[in-house]
Symmetry: C2
Subunit: 138 residues, 2 copies
């Protein structure tokens, strides 16, 4: 995380402030990240689950496009910068204890989101057969 | 985590198996957890983001009701056991690299989900005024 990141957002306050206040004070975990859920603004479909550090969140707010922190690559990730699948923020929400974000987005380019080429990362259902869970294409 | 949990699910295989295979091999993090996104099966609304350890996931599959791991209380959490807001699984999906789950649920009791009494934990929008982010009720 960049040296200046901890000061990008105010520190979380009391439980009441976190839950009912009007200040965005994200509760980054020990790894410096919050969970981010991204849905299609038009259809409501769940597209992906990713993570943001303070810098990614600040850039998302500043640019109106989704920036994440890639845990696998260990770097800031402007979603769609190479694929063209830029995610434009239509609405952003935060949850009760401010450790999760919800982005409703419009996806540019071919509308894809998953690195496998699919629109959504959630393309398989968990189904149980004879008491044993398995995966089937949704 | 219970001593037997690591053996509840098969160990993750190759990238190809993870992404295209038919075996549920969740990739629990260093903390033993996967992220779980829960939406309303009828409306599609995002209700909450929580976490599951292997035991919670196994119980969810076995019972057809949502079980999570409460990070704040450090215990297995049968959602709704005390509030009546039991979440019945309509469909469960897993993402491409099997470190996130998506539950589509019907909520019993008063239909609530958030500990603040609201239906969804995501009741505030992030809005920017004069370049400064703040929260407003959605």
């Amino acid at each position: 995380m960049c040296a200046s990141c901890p000061s990008i957002f105010p520190a979380p306050g009391s439980k009441a402030d976190l839950e009912e206040g009007s200040a965005l004070t994200p509760r980054f975990g020990a790894d410096g990240l919050v969970t981010c859920v991204t849905t299609d603004a038009a259809t409501g479909d769940l597209l992906m689950v990713a993570h943001m550090n303070a810098e990614a969140l600040a850039k998302t707010i500043e640019t109106g496009e989704a920036w994440y922190w890639s845990r696998s690559r260990g770097e800031l990730w402007h979603k769609g910068a190479t694929s063209g699948q830029i995610q434009t923020i239509v609405e952003m929400r935060v949850d009760c204890d401010q450790d999760a974000l919800w982005l409703k987005v419009n996806v540019a380019g071919d509308g894809g989101c998953c690195h496998t080429g699919r629109r959504s990362c959630f393309y398989r259902k968990v189904e149980t057969t004879d008491g044993k869970p398995g995966l089937v294409q949704a």
